[in-house]
Symmetry: C2
Subunit: 203 residues, 2 copies
């Protein structure tokens, strides 16, 4: 059939008729794939289908191959993250608080997609990868640089390290929640104290 890739593009390039149940299936698949692959990155198409409550064939009806599924998945996740970032309104207030806000909305709350970070399929060209990560990185870097200029973030620290470290802490907090060692509230709490400590300039 038709690949879903045309879906998230703005104006419909081809006047394709799409029924409601089809759309439901598609999002069910993507949700299930996110959930399942987060636990086992080697999960089968069948696993995903089962988790989505549909048959394996239906998956193939919308995504021509496993590759295509993962592709679409990455696109959607990226899109969600970008949305979350914009919602966090990074340009307002102290930069370190903005970092925390970012983690709250984007990572801890919305599901913490660690597989996204470590799912580098072989048949992905670096150009595409860059292109996908660029909008995210650009926003984050801008935030960090702003924070350093306003002396809310230690200018001594490399920008890349501030980002890595922050995301690592966010990921770690998400893990704690997922493992049941912390409640989401505690996780947010601990991030609120840890991130500023990490990035604030020494007095």
């Amino acid at each position: 059939m038709t690949t879903v890739s045309e879906l998230q593009s703005g104006p419909p390039p081809s006047p394709r008729r799409r029924r409601a149940d089809a759309l439901r299936s598609i999002t069910a698949i993507l949700d299930a794939a996110t959930e399942t692959l987060n636990r086992r990155s080697e999960a089968t198409i069948e696993d995903i289908a089962k988790a989505a409550g549909i048959s394996r064939q239906t998956v193939y009806a919308h995504f021509p191959s496993r590759e295509a599924l993962l592709q679409a998945l990455m696109e959607r996740v990226t899109e969600q993250v970008v949305t979350a970032i914009d919602a966090a309104d990074l340009d307002t207030g102290p930069a370190d608080a903005a970092l925390v806000r970012l983690l709250e909305t984007g990572w801890v709350a919305l599901g913490t997609n660690p597989f996204l970070l470590h799912l580098t399929l072989p048949p992905i060209d670096p150009e595409q990868e860059r292109e996908r990560h660029e909008p995210i990185l650009a926003r984050l870097e801008r935030l960090v640089v702003r924070g350093q200029e306003q002396d809310e973030i230690d200018p001594q620290l490399p920008v890349a390290w501030v980002l890595s470290a922050t995301l690592a802490l966010g990921h770690a907090a998400g893990e704690e929640v997922r493992a049941g060692r912390m409640t989401p509230t505690e996780a947010v709490q601990v991030l609120r104290t840890s991130i500023p400590r990490l990035v604030r300039p020494g007095r």
Copy 2:
């Protein structure tokens, strides 16, 4: 043939003759497996064999199955980490400095085995898992608790979080090095400033 599992046990239970090249092969396999699985956790036995510079069959000559290989791998890694921990001499000096020392020897230097953390094979019983992690966790917890008692580590922070966060930062630094965005020296440098900031009690 005989499984390698008898190897790291203390006194040889069966007086097995082992030739030098066999031992060489075994460590070559284990090293290659560590290296390869760190990049792709779904790596084939053939991949590992190729990386080790031997044939696939030789792998099977020493490890009856993929499962057994991973098993042995986990054991060896655990052993190495424990050794590294003991070498870091955690009971001496300020606790936060000890944490940094730990990362330097155990993670950044010795190869940063992230796959160890995320490689939870289905057919692993939790009891065995606990048993494996116990010696490591015990040492680390003891360190953190000591630090909190001596007021070198913020007593407000949950012990589990101090550990997670520290390891997360160590892992992040290792990633930076692996990705070529930092030199090992810079990584150590940045850890030396970041860890204390993170865990030191607020003035």
